[in-house]
């Protein structure tokens, strides 16, 4: 399969993840607009159904990720996430020459998704929903956010290693299980720093918010680069160590 076709597959897969996943977070904020959150830790996601709001967002991500993995996994590998690409490269499972094209494709897909989500919903998706951008929640420090993102992505990558990379893994379950794991991580840790687990997933909404409304969240972007990449790389090396003879 040519690099061009694989890159297009990464664009499409990451587009799906951000359009439906981050889009669900934006829609939740739009639906809850006007409600009175019970405390400052609640920014609107949670004021409708408590943790159920996060569960719904997590399921939107889960379904989009599972669909993308089953549809595109054989073509590009459906990484959909620079942290996953870098972790596979770091453990010598992915060629160096393909790393930059894959990451660029993921960033393009995420950006397209944010702009087309705004086009689908209107400017409220940007001004109210923030296009589902992630940021540390009230009371959460910068490095606490990095830690939460690293631990979340650690679990995601550990699952990918066990259910997909390992040749002993049972076939056919990867898409379903990885989607559900992301959904579970978002449900439990979404209210810490948004549970991005993915630099591309945060990049798209950040770019959309900045271009369409002038809202800059870029000061938080290093959280979503350092945390996910560190978590994914540590998980990949740890899995290799634990599963080695």
């Amino acid at each position: 399969m040519s690099l061009m076709k694989r890159s297009i597959a990464e664009v499409v897969g990451t587009f799906m993840l951000v359009y439906f996943g981050a889009g669900s977070a934006a829609i939740t904020l739009m639906i809850s607009k006007g409600s009175s959150p019970p405390n400052p830790f609640n920014i609107g996601i949670g004021s409708l159904g408590g943790l159920g709001d996060w569960f719904a967002i997590g399921m939107a991500f889960a379904i989009a990720i599972a669909a993308s993995i089953y549809a595109l996994g054989r073509i590009s590998g459906a990484h959909l996430n620079p942290a996953v690409t870098i972790a596979l490269w770091a453990t010598k499972r992915f060629p160096t020459r393909d790393v930059v094209p894959y990451i660029l494709a993921q960033l393009v897909g995420a950006s397209l998704a944010s702009f087309l989500f705004a086009a689908s919903v209107g400017m409220d998706a940007v001004t109210v929903g923030g296009l589902g951008a992630t940021a540390p929640f009230p009371g959460i420090g910068y490095w606490q956010a990095v830690l939460a993102e690293a631990i979340g992505t650690f679990l995601l990558m550990l699952t990918i290693m066990g259910i997909a990379v390992d040749e002993r893994a049972p076939p056919g379950f990867a898409g379903l299980i990885i989607g559900l794991v992301v959904g579970g991580i978002i449900t439990t840790t979404g209210n810490i720093a948004g549970s991005s687990l993915n630099p591309a997933r945060t990049f798209g909404p950040y770019l959309g918010d900045y271009v369409l409304a002038g809202n800059s969240l870029w000061q938080f972007f290093p959280i979503y680069i350092i945390g996910p990449i560190a978590g994914a790389v540590i998980a990949a090396f740890l899995y290799d160590y634990l599963s080695g003879e």
Partner: protein, 69 residues
């Protein structure tokens, strides 16, 4: 082993292969040999088609049944 399909026609022909589906012995006139693509990999790696193909021999009735749908 003799060819089962020839035997039905009262002919005594040596079988040269066995159908992988029904297991009957078949002669050269009653077999179909196909070469199937073999793919390696898949999520989270791109799958790739291997150079070597996988040969499969079927008797004509099984071949026809498989391709009917």
């Amino acid at each position: 082993m003799k060819c089962y399909l020839c035997a039905l026609d009262k002919k005594d022909t040596e079988a040269v292969a066995i159908c992988i589906v029904c297991g009957m012995g078949v002669c050269m006139d009653h077999l179909v040999r196909e070469e199937l693509d073999v793919w390696e990999g898949g999520y989270p790696f791109p799958s790739r088609k291997l150079k070597r193909k996988l040969p499969r021999i079927l008797c004509k009735p099984c071949y026809a049944a498989y391709h009917e749908g």
